[in-house]
Symmetry: D2
Subunit: 201 residues, 4 copies
């Protein structure tokens, strides 16, 4: 395989990138300056060297310390821990300005279509929950996608955490379901209406 | 204006229909059987004769009685009244199988862009609420769109109903906000995250 | 079936209209003025009375005469006859300002998926071509869709007309194929590239 | 700027990639194996080393010789030269199986919105045309996008090549315009109808 095809093929492994766009990426790079290509190759090669995974929340970061900036921030609320699926969920929650506790990132959700055992970082989760329990944790919020995979993951994590939570008086909650911004009843699915009705107030 | 253009122009007043589709409607009718055209013209002409507005919930219907089938159904729960914007919202809520009380249809929501006074059927609403209060009403659910117009309408209706509700021990609630089915945190807007967090449980 | 459902069902027979939009049409009419409903019903009922089909080109029109305004326009070029699939194609060609001859409307194209014999108005076509031949016709342009149905229709009409055309020194042509406005080679299908290459000049 | 943000920013320079997708690329790489990252960085870094630009047609390639496989293929038709905007146009034309001559790649089209002088590789073009003229070239086909930029580029290239072409009895043609596959008259733009009519046959 030639160099253009080889790089094209690597780009098709990127999320959401098909053969045509992969090909356009390669031609973009061919027409770019050597400096850009060098910078890009360098940034990719050194990504692992510069980025570490926070041992507490499992988020990727490149701060100077082992723990990330959120986990080392002592001004956050130690009574709250939010469990999310992906790093990018943290950015979304932070930008809503609504939550001031700590996070834990599962890294994925359970797959309902494959039998492959998925790694939800459970032993790390247990360590992190234990650590936060010592710091005054009173509520764990499961903030997972409102879809079947998210629900299966929430069920599983809840069953994993319940014994410890019960012993330590920690409540396990889930993000509320209902009408999301912009929803109209006429176009809402029955499940959303059911949840919106149940969670009325 | 000729007959084709005249009918075309009338069809452009239909919701979501532009000149090109209006034109296709007319050509469809030209190629259709005289029977279809006669049936259609008849159904439109007699719509008002056959369809009445339920004096209680304001829904359009063509049952034999003045009141609609829902309002005359004595098996529904008299303690609950849901206020919706449009007739079609009733069908959506009914198909979710989650609500067994009665309805009232405002017919529209307040417009935020125009100064035009919108008719929310308030005097009818007062009569209907009074009637249901006599039947044991304890909760009014505002089931309006989760958008600024829906919120303004909810605020207005709440202020209209509060004095009567307070006097008669009727609670006024709203449909819950949060993640709708299929939502992922990463793509949710800050407002939805805020509501989902507030309504966690 | 009640009046609302009956009218809804009639609207679902309109091209491109599903149950939900049909329902919205009915509610739009319910909220409209009696005048609008009366006008609409009248316009539909009288469509057939006011609109006739031009005996020469087969277009629907409502001029005072039996023949349409185009066919009675003596300033058009009698040497050219364009055969199109639908009435709306005439409007498109006229708005391009490129053609000054006369038209004939087949009313449809051959269907490739059904065995149902389709009526391409062939006996009318023969009469119209004979009439124009007497007026100096030298070229018949097949202006049919650039898809398999259009091609099958063109082949069929060409075989129907060829004997007469040969005898009367009438050329039969087809609209040119190639890159349509806005096309880029990279995204063009092989057939379009083939035609664009063949028709280069 | 940290390593994640730096790589994200580099990815936003890729064609069609916004901040969110750039971020997803970085997280994809973080979760990928070190092998993939190493391969990718290597392929990008060595792209320029392995890929050369064919001195004759200007296409990027990584064959063993300076010239690309197409330009060194002596079985192609030396009487034809097609001028295209981009490397990917060659793949599209080749897959149509319709053209057997040689190519020249301008690399871009003239921009109508910016005053920036665009490099259409004109001195290379002159050399390549001279070379093919010695080999029996009789026709140059301008195969540029059917849009204003493509037309301006075609006009410019034609004026550049005409003196040489006239002297050497080389015809300059353009890809044909008309209905592209799938077009229906009703939805075609006036310009396409005009071209389809002009190029009828």
């Amino acid at each position: 395989m030639d160099a253009i095809d080889k790089l094209s093929t690597l780009f098709t492994r990127f999320p959401g990138i098909g053969p045509r766009q992969a090909h356009r990426f390669v031609h973009f790079l061919l027409r770019s300056s050597p400096t850009l290509r060098r910078e890009l190759a360098g940034a990719i090669a050194e990504l692992a060297a510069n980025v570490k995974q926070c041992p507490t929340c499992q988020k990727f970061h490149d701060g100077g310390k082992a723990e990330c900036a959120l986990c080392t921030n002592t001004h956050r609320d130690p009574s709250l821990l939010m469990i999310v699926a992906n790093d990018s969920d943290i950015a979304a929650v932070e930008s809503s300005g609504t939550f001031s506790g700590y996070y834990f990132v599962l890294g994925t959700t359970l797959s309902l279509s494959s039998d492959k055992q998925q790694d939800l970082r459970e032993s790390r989760l247990n360590q992190t929950v234990t650590k936060h329990a010592a710091g005054g944790l009173t509520e764990i919020i499961l903030a997972l996608p409102a879809n079947p995979e998210g629900d299966a993951t929430a069920d599983h994590i809840r069953s994993v955490l319940t014994p410890f939570a019960d012993k330590n008086n920690i409540t396990i909650t889930m993000l509320g379901r209902g009408l999301s911004t912009g929803s109209e009843l006429e176009y809402a699915d029955p499940d959303t209406i059911k949840n919106a009705y149940k969670n009325r107030g």
